[in-house]
């Protein structure tokens, strides 16, 4: 559970997760509901809500976990439509594509990237202080929902 909690904290998010419902299978973490908790057996492949996985000591959150973090104080940026699609295609976010910043905005911080509908399309790391209006790359793409398409091609 620690990698999940650490990641949530890193984005200053507040997500209430009942730890008793979290189950780990090898390097992957899942959140069950009460019904699934009663039914779950050994050697499952996937269960409930996939939260993410650890690999090489790093935690890679699922897109569902990112979506769970939207509410509240989590660091987040809202981007315009063009930036949304570029980000989904794996590109970084330029300062001029950011319409709104919520939470910490300093260099090195992580933030959820939201589209104009408030939906999370991934997350990234700030390469500069977002309070400044400088041109250029502001957020390095760490993970985006275009990954679903890239997985199909692997």
């Amino acid at each position: 559970m620690k990698p999940v909690n650490d990641f949530i904290k890193r984005l200053h998010a507040e997500v209430e997760i009942d730890e008793a419902l979290i189950i780990r299978s090898r390097d992957r973490y899942f959140l069950l509901n009460d019904e699934l908790k009663k039914l779950i057996g050994k050697d499952f492949f996937h269960a409930g809500t996939y939260l993410g996985k650890t690999k090489g000591g790093r935690f890679f959150p699922s897109f569902t976990l990112l979506a769970m973090m939207i509410e509240g104080k989590a660091n987040k940026v809202v981007v315009d439509d063009r930036t949304e699609w570029l980000f989904v295609c794996g590109r970084d976010v330029f300062r001029e594509g950011i319409k709104k910043v919520v939470g910490a905005s300093g260099r090195g911080e992580y933030a959820l990237v939201l589209n104009r509908h408030g939906e999370c399309i991934g997350f990234g790391r700030m390469l500069r202080n977002l309070d400044r209006e400088d041109e250029g790359v502001a957020i390095k793409n760490v993970s985006d929902i275009g990954d679903f398409l890239r997985r199909e091609r692997r």
């Binding site: 996937h46 949304e84 398409l149």
Partner: protein
């Protein structure tokens, strides 16, 4: 025994004249993640032409000059790409919300995600399939569609009783021979031997499904095969051998035939629905329940 003439002659005997079809792409809005009207509006603004499919609550024909599988809305799980006839089986369960449902042959997970949607992510779905590649596709689909109520096992449906769970509902979208509407080379690839082999496998899964079904549970059996060995003849066998009975369903399709190539089947097989290729691909659907001691 194979080839286009062989198979189309069989279809004629079943009352359908072969015609080539061009399928329209269909999508299904995931109501657990999206407002239907809002999603339709967003897709329209991207240049996706949508037409409501009259026989489906959340299905639309989609027409676009780009892949509708490459929009942010798709990647966010607001809708799924799912052939129109394939959207029917999951809708035939009676009040699935909060229940325990088995998806016996689940990958790649389009119907699993639809079931979760119909169950509003409540209750539990146990989804089975084999092969890591298929299971990975299933897990990706569940993550994309934000499904929260499903456990996936790497388990052959013929061994479902190993789970020691009895199910309120069982979706048995059986591995089948497919049909020419979704496979241009179907007639040159398939022989009657394949069809018979698939039919045997389907009976084994049906038998296991009957084992793990609660007394008041429901099985929805479906295939995308046009071959009666995998459809009417299997249902006739299930009714005669597994203590199951068919239930009337209200969905697209015509009554299944009770006389197949001169063989008289149980009359109740007519409750099943056969969909010949046309506005959708070919499909076969039957709802089964356990026959009580008095019926």
């Amino acid at each position: 025994m194979s080839g286009q003439q062989f198979f189309t002659d069989r279809y004629s005997q079943l009352g359908w004249t072969y015609e080539n079809v061009k399928l329209k792409q269909a999508i299904r809005v995931n109501a657990m993640n999206a407002q239907v009207a809002e999603t339709v509006k967003r897709l329209a603004s991207r240049g996706v032409g949508l037409e409501k499919i009259p026989f489906l609550e959340r299905g639309y024909w989609a027409n676009a000059r780009f892949s509708v599988g490459a929009t942010a809305e798709y990647l966010l799980g607001l809708y799924s790409i799912q052939e129109a006839a394939a959207q029917i089986p999951a809708t035939l369960f009676t009040n699935p919300k909060g229940k325990t449902v088995l998806d016996a042959c689940a990958a790649p997970g389009g119907k699993t995600a639809q079931l979760a949607d119909l169950m509003q992510n409540t209750g539990a779905i146990v989804a089975l399939d084999v092969e890591r590649r298929r299971l990975t596709a299933l897990a990706n689909q569940l993550e994309r569609c934000r499904v929260k109520n499903t456990i996936v096992y790497d388990l052959d449906a013929r061994e479902a009783s190993r789970l020691n769970v009895k199910f309120d509902g069982i979706l048995l979208d059986a591995p089948c021979s497919g049909n020419f509407a979704t496979d241009r080379k179907w007639f040159s690839r398939r022989t009657i031997k394949d069809v018979e082999e698939n039919a045997r496998g389907q009976r084994e899964i049906l038998a296991e499904a009957a084992e793990v079904l609660k007394d008041d549970g429901e099985i929805v059996y479906s295939t995308c095969s046009l071959e009666p060995e995998e459809d009417e003849l299997n249902i006739d066998w299930a009714v005669r051998s597994l203590g199951l009975k068919t239930e009337k369903v209200n969905c697209l399709g015509i009554e299944a035939s009770t006389n197949v190539f001169g063989k008289e089947l149980d009359r109740s097989v007519e409750n099943a629905r056969r969909i010949w290729p046309g506005q959708t691909q070919g499909f076969f659907i039957c709802k089964l329940t356990r026959r009580s001691a008095t019926t």
